[in-house]
Assembly symmetry: C2
Homo-oligomer: 604 residues x 2
């Protein structure tokens, strides 16, 4: 037995592994949660990895059969069939990782040249004397003019309230943070000005602490949206906010306090000294309802036809007006919304995916309880919002659950042989969204479900509670617990959810005089979209039947978009352009909606 150093990137797990164990076994040894449904038989082809450097064992027949020519040319291998023959460095695709680990590596890179909205200027002031008793603000603007060629602008009240003392304490040397022509913070010359980018999802909040000068992300954090105690979906929260002013204020305060805490935590997490008061700008994105709840904007009209937002425009709000504990003079920038159900988070996603810059025909979608879809038809953007419902998050599905340990996330059915993979390889307890898609797709491929989603015969199909159900894990396998099943009703729920998405895609395509096959690229963003198996989504007819290489799964692109807007003026201009020129379609106003929707429920 020889030991080789095996390095799994980009998650950065590495260690010495025996040449006698496969890379799949090495991955398990090093806690890399590679997906493997078939248990290492080489048949499911889910444990794909790319060999970046080093020598490995010869290609096997199974690999040649299960990998495409392109994949083979790019050095892809099946981890279960490959053994190290030297120290090796491996690249793991997000696709091949189990859901919880996947979120750690996902998200598009921030690649723009930093040109932040808030800029830093170091100044050296001339102290006043009895012969030249220059007021402090005048002295500051003099130095900014002489040393940086800036015109006098304004100074935030909170800065003015500490300015005189600070200038004297700092011996007339200071670093200034300027937003446009307003001084929003002042500190010692060594201060590193920070930015906070936040994507507030209905369920989760993702926050990033960014060095404004370098554009680098110093720390990141995810947490639950505390509003969830007032309702899992935005409609119930809108109803809470409508009850009374006090309720609306409580909903806002929950979010603001969570963000203040996040800012403090991120600063503590960042390696070098960082203070929340060094955060001189924040960019916040969220769907339109979350955006409105965060700002205490009226939400009543969001819940009633024609579902219009109070505000579409990008906003700059003083942090203190919201109660957010960062620099008091800092602004919170809210990216623009597009419509009542296409919010700033969608705009951020479009920024991050650079879809607006494309000259081709590109579709971008963020799948969730509400699915926002945007089509760029050679420069012309159109968006639509579909009420896809909470089935993907486990709601209304008998054994549905979120992506957590024990959730069946991938499944393979070959005639009567059923194989599945759970998150964390734990004992199965339910089915998460990607598992649900896989099951329905496999049942369809195996002829257990027909075109209309009707469940037929199969040794695992039984009738329970007057409904047919497909048994995934039976009572014996669960030591007497209830069997994990998928019922006819569950299939119907998924059909409704996927129909909404497919209809949205078709509405966009038709409004642009195109056919689905004209779509050159499909970008799937958001946590759930990242976990799904695209082939399964095509099989059940949720996504159009395009060649797989046209699809890209990009993870939390909204958070990336927020970071882009934080460090790039150009990206803010782009966001404004997107929001103003997006030709939003209200799905309910599509002609023959009902007939089209019914058609879209068909599987495949």
């Amino acid at each position: 037995m020889t030991l080789y150093h095996v390095d799994f990137e980009p998650i950065g797990r590495r260690g010495d592994c025996s040449d006698e164990q496969s890379l799949l076994e090495s991955a398990r040894q090093l806690s890399v949660d590679l997906v493997s449904i078939c248990g290492g038989m080489g048949s499911c082809a889910r444990c794909k990895i790319q060999v970046a450097s080093g020598q490995v064992s010869e290609l096997t027949i199974d690999e040649k059969n299960n990998l495409t020519e392109r994949e083979l040319a790019q050095g892809y291998r099946l981890a279960c069939h490959t053994f190290p023959r030297s120290d090796v460095k491996l690249h793991v695709l997000p696709d091949s990782l189990s859901a919880p680990q996947r979120t750690q590596v996902e998200g598009l890179e921030v690649t723009v040249q930093p040109d932040p909205f808030v800029r830093a200027y170091d100044v050296q002031l001339t102290p006043p004397t009895i012969d030249t008793p220059v007021p402090d603000d005048v002295a500051l603007w003099h130095s900014l003019a002489n040393q940086h060629h800036l015109q006098p602008g304004s100074i935030d009240l909170s800065v003015l309230q500490t300015l005189s003392q600070q200038l004297r304490d700092l011996n007339w040397q200071a670093r200034v943070a300027m937003s446009e022509n307003e001084i929003v913070a002042i500190s010692s010359p060594s201060t590193r000005w920070l930015g906070l980018a936040v994507d507030i999802g209905t369920t989760k909040i993702a926050g990033y602490l960014v060095d404004l000068e370098s554009g680098k992300t110093l720390a990141s954090q995810g947490l639950m949206n505390p509003q969830i105690s007032y309702g899992e979906d935005v409609v119930s929260r809108i109803n809470v906010a409508r009850r009374s002013q006090a309720d609306a204020e409580r909903l806002q305060k929950l979010l603001v306090d969570a963000l203040s805490q996040m800012a403090a935590d991120l600063c503590a997490q960042a390696r070098a000294r960082a203070n929340p008061t060094d955060i001189v700008e924040a960019v916040v994105v969220g769907n339109t309802a979350i955006h409105h709840l965060f700002l205490r904007l009226p939400v009543e009209q969001l819940g009633l036809a024609p579902y219009v937002p109070a505000v579409r425009a990008a906003l700059d709000i003083k942090a203190r007006d919201l109660g957010l504990q960062i620099a008091s003079g800092a602004y919170v920038h809210l990216l623009p919304n597009i419509a009542g159900y296409v919010g700033a988070d969608h705009v951020a996603m479009l920024l991050a995916t650079r879809i607006a810059e494309s000259n081709g025909i590109v579709l971008a979608l963020d799948i969730g309880t509400n699915t926002e879809i945007c089509l760029n038809n050679r420069g012309k953007l159109t968006s639509v919002s579909c009420a896809s419902g909470p089935a993907f998050e486990g709601a209304h599905i008998k054994f549905g659950m979120r992506a957590a340990p024990g959730a069946i996330e991938h499944l393979l059915l070959t005639n009567e042989k059923l194989e599945y993979q759970t998150i964390g390889n734990a004992a199965p307890v339910g089915i998460c969204g990607s598992g649900l898609l896989d099951i329905v797709a496999q049942l369809k491929s195996n002829g257990v479900l027909d075109h209309h989603g009707r469940m037929g015969e199969h040794p695992r199909v039984r009738v329970g509670n007057h409904l047919r159900e497909f048994v995934i894990v039976n009572e014996q396998e669960r030591d007497g617990l209830d069997a994990i099943t998928l019922s006819q009703k569950d299939v119907r729920e998924l059909q409704l959810a996927k129909a909404a998405i497919r209809m949205g895609i078709q509405a966009l395509v038709e409004a642009n005089g195109l056919a689905e096959n004209d779509i050159e690229q499909v970008i799937i963003a958001g946590a759930f979209g990242t976990f799904i198996d695209v082939s399964s989504a095509i099989t059940i007819g949720m996504l159009p039947p395009l060649p797989l290489e046209r699809f890209t799964q990009v993870g939390n692109a909204a958070g990336t978009g927020a970071r882009l807007a934080l460090i790039s003026r150009e990206q803010r201009v782009q966001a404004k352009r997107i929001a103003e020129h997006d030709g939003y379609i209200e799905l309910a106003s599509v002609p023959n909606f009902n007939r089209k929707f019914a058609e879209a429920t068909n599987l495949g």
Copy 2:
């Protein structure tokens, strides 16, 4: 006896008076407090009035002797020697009124063409439909663009928070208040937008409610500055604010709450319906210390050489950031300061007196505990601040008091004959500032005080407490109470106060290479400056010995300046120009300060 209708303007007192009583007696009958020291003998010439219309009795010899040719030509008469011969309308000069009544009529007129910073726009919006679900902010900007050719700008957060509901409640018709390109308030189409102008003095606050569209003052109010409980002068309040954050906050809150109450009172006073939330802008002026205390700006450096303000620039602060209860999105505009002891109130006074627009050589001064003086030398402005002390307000003078009933406000000494006038013709209890000036001037004219202010012999001079003192009202006349006297020490106090002012004038004149006699016009502003007898001020050497017609007393010009800045953009530009181009001189840095000051203490 015949009754005629006698009308005293501009104080608006009128009634039927006998042709057998003089106009002085008619004035008393109608509660018009005309000054009369000689008691109607025609010798003091203080009860001057101008006959605007109607017939009166023939001119007497005493009148011909005591009125100038110019006064006679303009219809001036002595009220004590004039009798009505028809219904008459009389114009009363501020000079001829007793102090408390004078403040009611004083103050320069607001004469500029209204061009307010905050503008009103009526709009009619198109409601959203399911086919055109236009966001509310976008719909609002559309209507402003279509109906008023305005470019989209920003909307205050507090406006956004009520916008959607308001637009629906108002059936999509609204009136908008715009400050630059920001919407700061929105209401029903009939709303009259209001402005609040406030002059915060160290002792008193004067507030004005203004109709922004017409520029008319709808109501005005004066009240005591509540900070007075923390010290009569600004230096003691600076010391309080330096003690702790909590003290500084308390001082600010006192002012802000007083202004909020004033806004409510003024609205209640205004005839037509007016709400504090209709006040969409406020302009506030005050001396630099008051300005800083109002904004919670640091004041420590104001109390230490070189006495620099934290802020010179004009500021626009959201009313909510100060806690001021007017429209939440409204701005409070603070006019610029010039120096640590030449504040925004001085700039406002310069605006109101239009001194900056003059091409001549004009001096403007606001006499008080601190006296600010500005010289316009053919377009070039220079200001100085003099610590004249609180003697004029009665402090450090044994029988000194504020201008209140019973205060001796004017006095005449002819050899041994002493005549005086008290405010409200009440029994004398003390001496107010204008009385103090008169007494010292009369003692000097009658040779009781020499050039150096040393008290000599006179039947009314006695020695009490090792000090010489001049008896104004003796014990018998006061029914056994202490005699009202002026001591040698009181004279010294006044000499110090007046020396500071005269030195300031001389410093300005010298810095400009001029002589005092080159001054073509002297404008005396402020409450105290309005009450004084200019001849007395010249006699004691407080003011330079220029012909009387070069002097004008204009009352509370700072309040007028604040109103000008509220309703005129041009006046704000002018204020900025004044503050930036004023060549402030620090009196302490004048060469040979001590020798010059000693010289300036000389009387006459």
